[in-house]
């Protein structure tokens, strides 16, 4: 009998990666079933296990959860990564929505027309350095604490680290003007569960390559 959550998605980052990060940070072991063909997706749909015919889908605690944010919110609350009260939760939600928007831009990049790639990449870096990172740098500066909200590790910290590493893959020195985020990155990366997730052999997925993009296009008809 499985107590472990089971993740249904393609074998790549996409919308499931933030879920993998959060489960890993919470120290939760999970299983994965990979969708490799269109037929795999159709089967899930025909079996009636995808509420809105979409993945990610995570089997957890007797539920077949869909919708990335719903899944993440559930995991965050279950594992005490969602603040201590409604107001802390509000701040975590705001911060996470920001990093979601930023990571969303990166996720869609490989699916944009080839001639817009350079422009879109420049926009990502601009947004990261002028809209998003300054907010988190300031938050850390204002309270001087190790974590974004309530002096305690939360979903917001995990999500921000994920976003930082993802933007760094686009531009390695993107944190050069953000000393507190650099320190934050070092600190959060060294949390034992996260450190483990960042090591080779973990369930963390690599950045998408051409081959993976082609598979995704085929499975989802995009």
């Amino acid at each position: 009998m499985a107590g472990k959550p089971k993740l249904h998605y393609t074998k790549g980052r996409g919308k499931m990666e933030s879920i993998r990060w959060l489960l890993a940070a919470a120290g939760v072991e999970f299983e994965e079933e990979f969708i490799e063909t269109k037929e795999d997706l159709e089967k899930l749909r025909n079996d009636g296990v995808l509420l809105f015919q979409q993945v990610p889908m995570v089997e957890i605690d007797g539920m077949k959860m869909v919708q990335t944010r719903a899944i993440l919110s559930y995991i965050a609350a279950k594992y005490n990564l969602y603040g201590k009260d409604l107001k802390e939760r509000a701040w975590i939600d705001m911060y996470v929505e920001g990093t979601t928007d930023l990571m969303g831009m990166i996720m869609y990049l490989p699916f944009q027309p080839a001639d817009t790639k350079e422009k879109n990449l420049a926009l990502i870096i601009e947004r990261a350095t002028t809209r998003y990172f300054p907010v988190y740098e300031k938050a850390l500066k204002d309270h001087g604490q190790d974590y974004l909200v309530g002096n305690k590790l939360s979903w917001a910290d995990v999500h921000l680290l994920e976003a930082i590493l993802m933007v760094e893959e686009c531009k390695a020195d993107v944190l050069s003007a953000f000393p507190l985020l650099q320190a934050f990155k070092g600190r959060i990366s060294n949390i034992p569960t996260i450190k483990k997730f960042l090591q080779p052999g973990s369930q963390r997925k690599p950045p998408p390559d051409e081959k993976f993009i082609a598979v995704v296009r085929k499975i989802f008809n995009i």
């Binding site: 509420l51 015919q53 559930y74 509000a90 996470v96 929505e97 907010v135």
Partner: protein, 223 residues
């Protein structure tokens, strides 16, 4: 000193409308609204540093300047007991709300699609509503036979669904014809006192977007 929430957005539905719905449904009848009409107003807000990510909606509530639609709605739902009784009910409400939000996103973007794409997009809204989203809620209501989607109690999910039903009906009038449970749901929700009031003229509810609204959006958010 005003205890009322203050909303900053354009004078139209957009991403603020679900927030207006939820506040109204929660019985927060009166809230202040600041309407953005010019780029200069928007630039000033950014310069004043009140928009966390330089974006609206902005809702000033309980001493916070909240941004990000979902964060704002989650807070309101939590505060006014529209978020279920436990984690699992919250999970179900979240799933439902996210699905409906995806459908509403199609309607939100509709006025901004090029004229030659409008018919195709309208067809897509109809198809998704009829084949992907409405069947889920029809089934949920049929299976438990209760008035409300989750936990036999009025929640955020119900508010979001009635908003979506009415919004889709504005575009596809007969969309509920294959959904008897949703027809009953629509009537019941429309008659909940707080929602009934919101549906009457003179409430904070905004009309469907027209050409003037689209023009204002493009003007205010021009780069």
């Amino acid at each position: 000193m005003s205890g009322k929430p203050r909303l900053t957005y354009l004078n139209g539905r957009g991403r603020m409308e679900p927030i207006r719905w939820l506040l109204a449904a929660a019985g927060v009848e009166v809230f202040e609204e600041v309407y953005l009409e010019t780029k200069e107003q928007y630039d000033k807000l950014i310069k004043d540093g009140v928009l966390l990510f330089q974006q609206v909606p902005l809702v000033e509530i309980d001493g916070m300047k909240m941004v990000q639609t979902r964060a704002i709605m989650s807070y309101i739902a939590g505060k006014y007991n529209l978020y279920g009784k436990d984690l699992k009910e919250r999970a179900l409400i979240d799933m439902y709300v996210e699905g409906i939000s995806d459908l509403m996103q199609m309607i939100l973007m509709f006025p901004f699609s090029p004229p030659d794409a409008k018919e195709k997009n309208l067809e897509a809204v109809k198809e998704r509503a009829t084949n992907r989203y409405f069947p889920v809620f029809e089934k949920a209501l049929k299976q438990h036979g209760q008035d409300f989607l989750v936990g036999n109690k009025f929640s955020w999910a119900d508010v979001q669904l009635i908003e979506a039903i009415l919004a889709v009906e504005e575009k596809v009038p007969a969309v509920l014809s294959g959904f008897p449970q949703l027809q009953v749901f629509k009537t019941k929700m429309s008659n909940m006192p707080t929602i009934k009031k919101f549906l009457q003229p003179g409430s904070p509810r905004k009309p469907p977007p027209d050409a003037h609204y689209v023009e204002t959006v493009l003007k205010v958010f021009k780069k």
